[in-house]
Symmetry: C2
Subunit: 343 residues, 2 copies
């Protein structure tokens, strides 16, 4: 249903004008005389005229909507990204439609299909952990849908991407752990096909190498679902602690992984940071309320949303012009706290 009071036709009839004149007057066209403009505007205001956006979209072939696909909304990091997206989008007059993939490729495709059927002007996406093949995105991209990746980006599509400095963050975290005296640092990672995972791994390795430490492959645990399934992380941690040489520190790759690791380490009765240190990528609103307070690398989620939305809208509004895909790397910030012995 559409809560519409009057249409252009109503105004035209009431004022004895043609549809086109009213339409033009409403848009402030220079070809319409002042008196007519004023009359139309006044009548429109008085009768609370509101254009039918559906009809406009149908005619103009644009909807001033942008679609967002991400794993899950109840997530401290992504929630802030959404806020960043909305701040830019609404200032430019775009409506944001958010859909969730729940880490499922199937749902990601469905979300994409739905969004495009509803006519979106562009897409912002952080892919699911199952998204190895990107043909579904490529199809739409090739047909002209502007796409910008954020957070979990994908290689292979010539478009913008906005992400955190994953390598730098993992490097800082690892170096910090080493400085604190930890030597057997385990790393719980997301699926390896994600660039993000490889970048973090690179930072981790670089810090180890710089310190002259060996990278023990036993200390690397891969979580195929990126932490969506708690058991996965519990298993990883259990395996780590059944090694002959157990780790003395755990580096977790995401919000959920950090939290799940925390919970499971406590359940196992491990004392943090004495028996084992814990640090991770995370955007909890209050990591200092945990016991002990969590050492984290904080990403600028809001800025990520803003940048991604900005680039997308620029693409949408300059569709004709050629462009060079940009890859934006946002700096992250190490927050050393008690969980790594920093007091």
């Amino acid at each position: 249903m559409n809560i519409q009071t009057i249409t252009i036709k109503d105004i035209a009839k009431a004022l004895n004008l043609s549809y086109s004149t009213v339409s033009r007057a409403l848009k402030g066209s220079y070809q319409i005389s002042e008196p007519v403009k004023e009359k139309v505007l006044a009548y429109a205001k008085e009768h609370n005229y509101r254009p039918n956006l559906l009809a406009q979209s149908l005619k103009n072939k644009n909807s001033r909507c942008i679609g967002v696909v991400l794993c899950t909304i109840p997530n401290s990091f992504l929630g802030e990204v959404i806020n960043g997206i909305e701040s830019i989008a609404s200032s430019k007059g775009y409506l944001v439609i958010i859909t969730q993939s729940n880490e499922s490729l199937e749902k990601e495709k469905m979300a994409l299909d739905h969004l495009t059927m509803r006519s979106i002007d562009g897409l912002l996406i952080s892919v699911s952990t199952e998204t190895i093949n990107t043909d579904h995105l490529k199809t739409y991209h090739d047909r002209g849908l502007p796409i910008v990746f954020f957070d979990r980006v994908c290689e292979g599509l010539p478009t913008h991407m906005v992400q955190s400095d994953n390598e730098g963050g993992a490097y800082e975290l690892t170096r910090h752990l080493i400085q604190q005296g930890y030597r057997r640092i385990a790393h719980i990672t997301s699926p390896t096909h994600l660039p993000m995972t490889r970048e973090r791994l690179t930072g981790y390795h670089r810090a180890l190498k710089e310190a002259g430490l060996d990278a023990d492959p036993d200390l690397l645990k891969n979580c195929a679902h990126g932490g969506a399934i708690v058991e996965e992380i519990e298993t990883a941690i259990n395996e780590l602690f059944s090694l002959s040489k157990v780790p003395d520190a755990v580096l977790a790759a995401s919000d959920r992984m950090t939290q799940a690791s925390f919970q499971h380490l406590r359940a196992l009765g491990k004392s943090i940071p004495n028996q084992v240190a814990l640090a991770g990528f995370s955007n909890f609103s209050a990591p200092d309320l945990f016991s002990p307070a969590l050492t984290t690398v904080v990403q600028d989620a809001f800025e990520m949303g803003k940048r991604a939305a900005g680039l997308l809208i620029e693409r949408i509004e300059q569709k004709h012009k050629p462009f060079t895909p940009e890859r934006i790397i946002l700096p992250v910030q190490l927050k050393a706290r008690a969980s790594t012995g920093s007091v």
Copy 2:
């Protein structure tokens, strides 16, 4: 833009049929012969026909979209509510459009205007703390927009509402605190014009009365912005602790209030639960990771979303039929933890 491959007209031309026949065949109308139906469907599938939902909406005067207005997306409770809403909506073929009011009446009105301009079939709303007057909602409701309230409901509109058992929750929390030996229990509340606030207050008073305790008005602190502004809560707590008779327990009304109270009590160096106990309404995913673990009343956020969406869609699809406004009260669950001395 619309990623459309072919239209009904294309199919009609290709198969030498009229538009109407194709349209009917696509909908599986009984008036179309099997062979024609099959031909059309096959051709449509082969050429990846996808209906233009904008055009359909314009014609049918429905959009199969429902709008949601809430304070803020990055919120553990509301995030889960959204998931509940989506689970029902998507199963019934509705797209969910989420907008935020950020506790501002102005933004709430704007969100409402935008949503209705985009043609939503119905609205789910949890009002902002500033929403005392509900004329903006009434206007749309009177014009036929189905509305269902959730969480922060409003009186005065003859429509469904879905909320938690606020009175019961506050009662349980207060009774628990009393049982644990606390006697001067402060209550930090949301704005008093919200039914939710009054209900919680009632529960709090009922428990006090039952235990034969006086309700000291000094122990009641009202936060006009419902916790959106941290300073507000800090001030409330500071005032409580500058009383001649300080409280020995604090009952917080929401997620954000609970967290902010926690943080500020710690900043003040108050030992929880020895110097002061803390308990509150909250849906943190891991209240046991706090130090000390938080005693909370947990609301069934997902169920709230499901019920609200279910009622709304029912209203949308049976618009003609008269209905009796329902008020659904969802049970809550007390989780006693260390912050109230329960260890």
